[in-house]
């Protein structure tokens, strides 16, 4: 082992934590899990990770569904308007027919 390695061993020698370190660890162990700070509690694995493409696909489906629903609504409205126009036209024709019949008499 050369001088540098000897110096490294000296430099990297173990250090002690705070004197109350063990007491604090044991106090945290006695705490209920829900009371513990969760800073580094678990390896940072998320239980459920939604991939971005799933979110994007869901958004596309919602938007496409909304557009389709809007088109369907517009179709119904147009149909209702056509039916109303035909009803009015029919009323007018009936009215004219009645007048024509009266005139003939």
């Amino acid at each position: 082992m050369d001088w540098l390695e000897q110096e490294l061993k000296q430099a990297m020698a173990r250090k002690d934590p705070s004197p109350d370190f063990a007491v604090r660890v044991e106090a945290r162990v006695r705490q209920k899990p829900s009371e513990r700070p969760t800073v580094l509690e678990m390896p940072r694995r998320r239980v459920f990770v939604m991939p971005r493409w799933v979110a994007a696909a869901a958004a596309v489906v919602v938007i496409a569904g909304s557009a389709e629903g809007y088109r369907w609504h517009r179709g119904l409205e147009a149909k209702r308007q056509v039916m109303e126009a035909m009803r009015l036209t029919s009323e007018k024709l009936n009215h004219i027919q009645a007048r024509v019949n009266e005139a003939r008499k």
């Binding site: 020698a13 002690d16 660890v25 390896p43």
Partner: protein, 173 residues
């Protein structure tokens, strides 16, 4: 039977493990992070994790191995999370005065800081080698890394440190 009860049956007592290994765990984190407060937090979390996994620990020596591995992993996680590797840039490490005597405290600080500037893998290898006095095969086992890679990290890191120090006029006495 709980994990803690199983461990206690095997003669492993949590409080005893904390007292026995606290310096090792804290020092690994401190040498890795070069920040006392963060090192204590990481060390506490490592012991809390040990408490949860106590049932998996078979022997006291297994506990030591488990603690080394988890401490290095947690230290790497913490360093990545804070994205502050290294806290001190290599160029900003103060130049030590030429050595006049062995065990120069300034040189020790410079060496610690130079090690803190290494990338994660070589830093972990150097800390386990010189803090824990592990040989390359033991380091390879802890870090789950080929022995050849460990030896390569050691050689390259030593060469780099030697070059940095010699450039600053610090050499063999």
């Amino acid at each position: 039977m709980t994990g803690i009860a199983i461990a206690e049956t095997a003669g492993i007592e949590f409080g005893q493990l904390v007292r026995e290994h606290q310096s090792m765990v804290f020092s690994l984190a401190w040498h890795f992070l070069h920040d006392r407060e963060s090192a204590e937090e990481v060390a506490q979390e490592v012991f809390l994790s040990l408490h949860k996994h106590l049932g998996e620990i078979q022997t006291p020596s297994h506990a030591g191995f488990w603690l080394k591995r988890v401490t290095v992993q947690r230290s790497i996680d913490e360093a990545r999370k804070r994205q502050r590797r290294p806290k001190i840039a290599l160029e900003s490490v103060p130049e030590p005065a030429a050595r006049s005597a062995p065990r120069d405290p300034l040189l020790s600080e410079v060496l610690r800081r130079l090690i803190a500037t290494l990338a994660e893998a070589p830093r972990s290898v150097m800390i386990l080698r010189y803090q824990e006095d592990l040989d390359p095969s033991e380091i390879a086992e802890v870090l789950d890394m080929p022995v050849g890679t460990v030896k390569s990290h050691l050689q390259r890191s030593l060469a780099l440190l030697r070059e940095k120090l010699e450039r600053r006029g610090v050499g063999e006495y």
